[in-house]
Symmetry: C2
Subunit: 219 residues, 2 copies
């Protein structure tokens, strides 16, 4: 499969621009757990996902975390190129949650393309709008939703992503996704278990009553 | 003063585009309290502020509010034109907090300009990046900062915006900015008063010890 089939606006670029993208993009595969972007310390460029899964998250000075969004096949990782966008003044971290294969469009190639091509510049706005929407959803969740609803929604989402009801995930990792402490997660999961919604065992949360979780999450 | 002096990338547009913007933009003045944008029900277009102050905020189904950011002279209000950006899938509300004077660039004019002009499309990305940064700052505040620190920061910001230490603001309005309940604000303000940081009277919060508030806010 060629980059052209993964890059949504490839057809709208000039022949020269297409040629540049093909010549200067690099293919790379990283194992699960790889740190791809760490605030303003990195500037890999635009990443175009061929397969795998990335997680974008925020970290506090004290080491707490909260997941902002996930990226999957055919998604574009924009903030790994935030160094060339002056108005982006925040630091996020991006890691691979699974083995991930992607094309890298280097920062200087991306910058030149964006400056000269209106379709490319509009595409960047579009990606930014999508991520903005993810983050606004998160604010609404944090501001107005109680933790039990958020946790129910998180378990259902994980189950959908992994395609299984048996989630291999620790309470610590769940806490890192949701921006809270492990104890808070453990307490709520025990309540879910008492209500028959999940079954807990070492490093595993098994979903027992999807319907009840869905009702609770308020979707 | 002409629109060209307020529109940062005016010089980068073609003569035709400049002419279009001049001919099709409208000048308008609205009184304090005017609702300018209410989720997906409105689509005024791009607003370019000549003077005044706008507030962009999120509302919950239950009527709670949280302020996302403020816009001032020379700022551009992008989300009042969100109808023409498909990737923006969230609803915010925008109201004038003071008498506000602005140019309106109608949605169709803005759309055409963005599609054909790379400088314009990049400028849109840039504005979106700035708003994104505001919103990420808010997430960090909500996630990692305790309410006393946030409230101290809010009072100092209001004082800077209004240019006075005597803030004419009710506890209810502060709660609406911060996404919390009035009682929580009242309790914390009384604690601030007991510590000598503020003095409370009907509809007024007077800052008595700016230094102490600054220290508390952790700026």
């Amino acid at each position: 499969m060629d980059l052209s089939e993964y890059f949504p606006i490839f057809d709208k670029l000039t022949a020269d621009e297409q040629d540049q993208l093909r010549r200067l993009s690099m293919r790379r595969t990283v194992p699960s757990g790889t740190l791809l972007h760490n605030g303003d310390k990195d500037c890999m460029g635009l990443l175009l996902l061929r397969s795998g899964q990335l997680r974008a998250y925020l970290t506090s000075d004290e080491g707490r975390e909260v997941t902002l969004y996930r990226l999957f096949e055919r998604d574009i990782c924009l903030f790994s190129a935030s160094c060339i966008m002056n108005s982006i003044q925040f630091d996020i971290t991006i890691t691979a949650e699974k083995e991930t294969e992607f094309w890298i469009i280097p920062p200087d190639v991306f910058k030149k393309l964006m400056e000269t091509s209106a379709p490319m510049a509009n595409y960047v706005s579009q990606i930014m709008g999508t991520r903005f929407t993810d983050v606004m959803w998160l604010i609404e969740q944090i501001m107005w939703k109680s933790f039990d609803k958020r946790l129910a929604g998180f378990l259902l989402e994980e189950s959908a992503i992994e395609g299984t009801k048996v989630l291999k995930i620790t309470h610590d990792i769940i806490a890192g996704h949701m921006g809270t402490a492990r104890e808070v997660v453990t307490r709520m999961l025990r309540y879910f278990q008492a209500e028959g919604m999940v079954k807990l065992s070492r490093g595993v949360v098994e979903i027992m009553d999807e319907e009840m979780l869905e009702e609770l999450s308020g979707k």
